[in-house]
Amino acid sequence: MGLLSLAIWMPIAFGVVLLAFGRDSQARAVRWLALVGSIASFLVTLPLYSGFALGTSAMQFVEKASWIERFNVHYHLGVDGISLWLVLLTAFINVIVVIAGWEVITRKVNQYMAAFMILSGLMIGVFSALDGILFYVFFEATLIPMYLIIGIWGGPNKIYAAFKFFLYTLLGSLLMLIALIYLYVTSGGSFDILTWHKLPLSGSVQTLLFFAFFSAFAVKVPMWPVHTWLPDVHVEAPTGGSAVLAAIMLKLGAYGFLRFSMPIAPDAAREWGMFIIVLSLVAVVYVGLVAMIQQDMKKLVAYSSVAHMGFVTLGFFIFNPLGVSGGIVQMIAHGFVSAAMFLSIGVLYDRVHSREIASYGGVVNTMPKFAAFALFFAMANCGLPGTAGFVGEWMVILGAVKFNFWIGLLSASALIFGAAYTLWMFKRVYLGPVANDDVKDLTDINGREFLMLALLAAAVLYMGVYPKPFTDVMDTSVIDLLKHVALSKLP
């Protein structure tokens, strides 16, 4: 069994074992098994990085076996510089989420842990699938555990959120399914994504395919104006669910643009690039402003996620290496930072059971250690140099300025909004005198919470100070992707 298969199936196997044998009466054993499983699943992804050959854009760690002969579908896996870090990120966040749910979840612990383990395996599958159907199966299957996570362990309005999440994202991906089948038929019976990259397609077909993929990925990212599901879902999802949703699931969409939309329909991508850029700028600027007026912390971070993902899509569609690499770096950085932001909110929510900014004030007085972490993550969220948040945004802005000065200027203004809403929230929640009795009774974070936040802080700091390991890996793949996109595929 190859490394990628192991990375996919190991967490799923642990999840199945948890489902089959876990009982709430043995919650302790269930938690430890989940932790062991998630750590082991993370460790098996490390050799992917150490064994990754730089300087080539070819797929690595390739596994290929026939899966459904009738439709020439293959179990075809591989990673390149674009997907490698996303695989590692997924496995890493899974460990954090298991730690985050440790004492918080008391009902159906085994199902909770299993859902996250299975979800993690499925998402790694999305990032490493090189066959259209395999990709689609993983992509869609992620909906099931997430639906259950939101619905079972979510907040008061969880039912609405779970349905909105499922149906909204399903609508987009069903159109993608049609596109996949169309490509299969046009390519003479192949579901191989890399074959599709080379397939000549006429302009109108490319446009239709581009928008079919767009419908799936834009909803997932989510891009303005189809982002409305995200705040509702984030608010109701349990902390772990929000963290995985923001950190990984949104990236499935952005990744799809790089793997499908741009290389399969390059002419349409160039033709409609400006359209995506405009939507991204709206997300960056307008949604940034919307975030500013939120009363609910989770909603604020959700809107901030939309704005940050706007940077990612903006970077992709300005078609220069800085922009695309910046977009990918931003995806990874946002993975760490948004997870940390949601987990921080979770820490407060577990104690006070409120997400309203107004319910807090002066938390720093009672939770100094936690406030330090929160400040650090807030800084990372507004893109302070030295944190992970800075690198990606800076690269995208540089790329954008090269592309067009005004677009660069507009996107740079988002940094100001980002700083404004993040720091204003920080001020209202953490600074000032102790606001009420709830805050007075707060106890500082325990060892488990410290560990989980420290791991994320370390990752954010490392990536901010020394982003070279991240950018080195993706350089060649990004440059080759752009070369590919620059060539016309018109027959």
Binding site: F71, A141, I144, G151, I152, V185
Partner: protein, 495 residues
């Protein structure tokens, strides 16, 4: 003409018939209220029959018997093998349910099921209008009796009445259509009909006139809009055991008669019947999915969902012949077959759970009766959830690949109309996802209203778990079943 090979083609049916009679007689001497001996003997006989069919199918030969009255081909044997297994599984789920409802006073449940299966077998293997019709009548007459088995129950009696009247009308339609075909072509035998139509010597108007009746009759039987009215009432009114006997295995037989009549007999009229089936499919997808949303009764909801699912199966039939070319026929019809097999498998498990949850004097057929099932029994909630996701077409369940195969057959045609149909179908399955998800929501997100634990006999528990697992496993490795369907259909078309 009546050589030995003729008998070989119906050998499994002979075994089935003999055992059905033996069981009907032997049951007179069974005293146990749960009919253990009858039950064991039935399962044993059916197991043997299923094994025989699998052996025949595996041999891969196509033989005709009794002067082309029946055929023994891999497609027919596989369908009969699956139908037999489906009836076995149905009986396993039904026995405790029936015992609680005074339906096991005699062994009719078992012998009637076997006669129904015999009817299905001849529908599947028939090569002659009359044989197919007789098979259909044997199946439906047994089904009427099964629905009415709970004779002092008003709803069930009403359902039986409705089923009988409408079913008889549908049979009349079919028979009338067949007689038109006979009149036009001078033959009752499918291959001769095909030859006569291909020759172009036959009056096209008469053929299309007859075809309309045949298609209407078939649409009645599978429950496609606008001939679907009986489905919700009968599904809801019949005892769940009978519902499953109607809604499970016979669907495979219904698929078979569509293949036999429309493809093996009337393929030259494909242009006409493809149009009719397209209309039926659009109606079924639309009405089935929209009406299912409004249902609060789980059985009724599943009835509308069946209508919608049948719409998808019909889509598998519409893109077989493009501009007179049959190159895509195998692709299209095998996708419909795969869809049907996957659908029956899923239906078995979902009705199995409904029957399991029913207790003495309590039907558990409202959607709200499933509230909090995950707390009461994670296993059965899991089985039901897998089935619902499969029906909604979410991977990695078998239902997804079924939809994939059908959509692929539509898009492969390259015709704008069919690609439009594919897009319409996926949008409808989005609506479908809503009401399936609602049941998942009730099971997983709502609090249980009753703390009763779910108890099941060992046989039910094992079979139901395997059934649910199979829906998932066939989703992870669907290749073998797909290849089987494709191979069977290719061989059928090659003859």
């Amino acid at each position: 003409m009546m050589d030995n090979s003729s008998w070989m083609t119906v050998y499994p049916e002979i075994v089935l018939l003999v055992m059905a009679c033996v069981i009907a007689l032997a049951d007179l001497f069974v005293k146990s209220p749960k009919r253990n001996a009858t039950y064991a003997l039935t399962l044993l006989s059916l197991g043997g029959v299923a094994w025989l069919h699998a052996m025949y199918a595996d041999a891969g030969q196509t033989l005709y018997g009794f002067g082309r009255l029946v055929v023994s081909d891999p497609m027919g044997h596989w369908l009969r093998c699956f139908a037999t297994i489906a009836v076995m599984v149905t009986l396993v789920y039904s026995r405790p349910y029936a015992a609680d409802r005074d339906m096991l006073r005699g062994g009719e449940l078992f012998s009637l099921s076997m006669f129904a299966l015999l009817g299905m077998s001849f529908m599947i293997s028939g090569q002659n209008f009359i044989v197919i019709y007789l098979g259909l009548e044997l199946l439906t007459l047994s089904s009427y009796a099964l629905v009415a088995l709970r004779r002092d129950h008003t709803q069930a009696t009403e359902a039986a009445m409705k089923y009988f009247v409408l079913g008889a009308m549908a049979s009349g339609f079919l028979l009338y259509g067949m007689s038109m075909m006979y009149g036009a072509t001078g033959s009752l035998e499918l291959s001769a009909v095909l030859k006569a139509i291909s020759s172009g010597q036959v009056n096209h108007q008469v053929l299309v006139f007859g075809l309309v009746f045949i298609v209407s009759g078939l649409a009645f039987k599978i429950g496609a809009v606008p001939f679907h009215m009986w489905i919700p009432d009968v599904y809801q009114g019949a005892p769940t055991a009978a519902t499953l006997l109607i809604g499970g295995a016979p669907k495979l037989a219904a698929f078979a008669i569509m293949i036999r009549l429309l493809v093996e007999g009337l393929l030259p009229l494909a242009f006409d019947w493809q149009q009719m089936l397209s209309v039926l499919a659009i109606g079924s997808l639309l009405i089935g999915n929209l009406a299912a949303i409004a249902q609060t009764n789980l059985k009724r909801m599943l009835a509308y969902s069946t209508i919608a699912q049948m719409g998808f199966v019909l889509l598998g039939f519409v893109a077989g012949v493009i501009n007179g070319e049959t190159t895509l026929a195998a692709n299209a019809y095998s996708s419909a077959m795969f869809y049907m097999v996957g659908y029956v498998l899923t239906t078995l498990a979902s009705f199995g759970v409904i029957m399991l949850l029913a207790r003495q004097g309590f039907e558990s057929e409202e959607i709200t009766d499933l509230a909090g099932l995950n707390h009461r029994s994670p296993l059965y909630a899991g089985v039901m959830a897998i089935c619902l996701f499969s029906l909604a077409g979410i991977p990695p369940m078998v239902g997804f690949y079924a939809k994939l195969a059908v959509l692929q057959s539509l898009i492969a045609s390259g015709q704008g109309f069919y690609i439009g149909l594919a897009i319409f179908a996926v949008l409808m399955s989005l609506i479908g996802a809503f009401y399936y998800l609602r049941v998942v929501k009730v099971m997983y997100f709502d609090e249980p209203v009753t703390a009763t634990t779910v108890a099941a006999h060992t046989d039910v528990r094992v079979v139901l778990s395997l059934n649910g697992l199979l829906v998932l496993v066939l989703g992870v490795v669907p290749g073998a079943l797909m290849a089987l369907c494709a191979d069977a259909v290719v061989r059928m078309l090659a003859v």
